[in-house]
């Protein structure tokens, strides 16, 4: 049975984020089902797309707030200070881009195209620092064949997309600036994917504790980012009938939730450690006094 205290305080943020995500996804899929059943009689691109975009903005705001909370607990000399600083900056860029895109202050696609490679570069810097710390603590594990395979898929996607764009440009077809910016970010995504796979191996050797869950969320977030990037490029090329805007917003939702879960789990772990009333994780009845008996 779930205790009431489990939903109180900032340390319950992971639960709230998962509930928020589940509710939004359920609503999104329900809209898609109704749209399909109604024979595409009404346009849902604007209505459901803007709702999902608002939810994504809320999640990025939560992500930013929780990242600030985490960074406050790491002094400047702490080994993970710079990693959390990069994660905070990436969260700030995500929040800014989502806000600009939803408010339509400037062209939504241009804002997102500019912000995406920047936040990937920040995340790559954070991942490098995290991997260095894990290596120093003895949690380092090398990549396996499956990890190289996943990275190879992203590299192939990068090459394919570059080839298509360059071919279109050489043919004299009009190419948007956003496409070139997005293309420039793909090598960073490849590096990010490799770092994520390395981190995944290290985490697999550690287990499923509170701190580990946060870093695992970062791995999933990067994986979802790559998957969404590929899906949103492939769908318009091969599946013309699918509502792209709805799919894009639905793909961004789990991604934003996964990114928000990174500081959320960290805050949960830190709060659990600091709270004066919190008991030790495991109070065995067969402790020392029992042995003396």
């Amino acid at each position: 049975m779930m205790r009431r205290a489990d939903f109180e305080g900032i340390e319950s943020a992971p639960r709230w984020i998962v509930i928020f995500l589940a509710a939004n996804l359920a609503a999104g899929f329900l809209v898609a089902y109704v749209w399909n059943a109604a024979g595409n009689l009404f346009s849902m691109q604007a209505s459901s797309g803007s709702t999902s975009a608002f939810s994504v903005t809320v999640l990025t705001a939560v992500d930013l707030w929780l990242s600030i909370e985490v960074l406050r607990r790491f002094p400047r000399r702490a080994p993970l200070h710079s990693a959390w600083l990069w994660i905070l900056l990436a969260a700030a860029v995500r929040f800014m881009s989502e806000t600009l895109a939803s408010l339509a202050v400037c062209g939504g696609s241009t804002a997102l195209a500019l912000c995406v490679p920047i936040q990937w570069a920040m995340l790559a810097a954070a991942m490098a620092q995290v991997l260095r710390v894990f290596h120093r603590l003895g949690f380092w594990r090398g990549p396996r064949a499956a990890d190289w395979a996943v990275c190879a898929v992203v590299w192939l996607f990068t090459l394919r997309r570059s080839g298509v764009l360059v071919a279109a440009w050489l043919d004299g077809q009009p190419t948007a600036g956003a496409d070139w910016i997005s293309l420039a970010g793909l090598p960073i995504l490849c590096a990010l994917f490799l770092a994520a796979m390395l981190l995944r191996q290290s985490l697999a050797s550690m287990g499923n504790g509170l701190v580990t869950r946060g870093w695992a969320a970062l791995v999933y977030a990067i994986f979802l980012t790559g998957a969404a990037e590929m899906a949103l490029w492939i769908i318009p090329h091969y599946f013309h009938s699918l509502p792209l805007l709805l799919l894009a917003s639905l793909a961004r939702l789990p991604m934003a939730a996964a990114f928000a879960l990174v500081p959320a789990w960290q805050v949960a772990a830190q709060r659990h450690a600091i709270q004066p009333g919190s008991a030790e994780p495991e109070e065995l009845p067969t402790g020392l006094p029992a042995m003396a008996e």
């Binding site: 607990r73 790491f74 002094p75 702490a78 080994p79 993970l80 710390v133 603590l137 003895g138 949690f139 050797s205 550690m206 287990g207 499923n208 504790g209 509170l210 701190v211 580990t212 960290q266 772990a269 830190q270 450690a273 600091i274 004066p276 919190s278 030790e280 994780p281 495991e282 065995l284 402790g287 020392l288 006094p289 042995m291 003396a292 008996e293």
Partner: protein, 151 residues
Amino acid sequence: MHLSRGALIAFCDGETGPAKQARVARHLAKCQKCSGELRHIRAEKGCLSSSETSGFPPGWSRLLFSMGAWRQGRTFGLSSEIRRRAHSQIEFYLGTPAVSLVEQAGTRAEDSLARATQILETLLGPEAAEAVRDRVLSGLECARTALESRL
């Protein structure tokens, strides 16, 4: 007749009077077993004082040292209690497999706890790690008090 561990610790810390100090020194010159025990105590203290300089709060090394000294005289396994508490922290914050990465063959229980604290400090931040460490130490103190009162 050999010297007790307590007397050797007091000699090592210079807590005895000059007359007793000279008596112990005379005995140590003759007795190989006691001088060996003194070397062991000095090595233990050296190890703990080096860990004390790596950010442990005052009283930490004294507590662990007294526990180590106490443990050697008894066989009730305070060492396993220290180890168990260090492992439970690692299990909770990192995961069960991480325990085997933290625990190395031949490490003393006190070193396991120190390493667990160092890992938590890196991953959670100093404030959180300090709170965890204080809770573990107070738990150990309670356990020791409870045990001593029952013996």
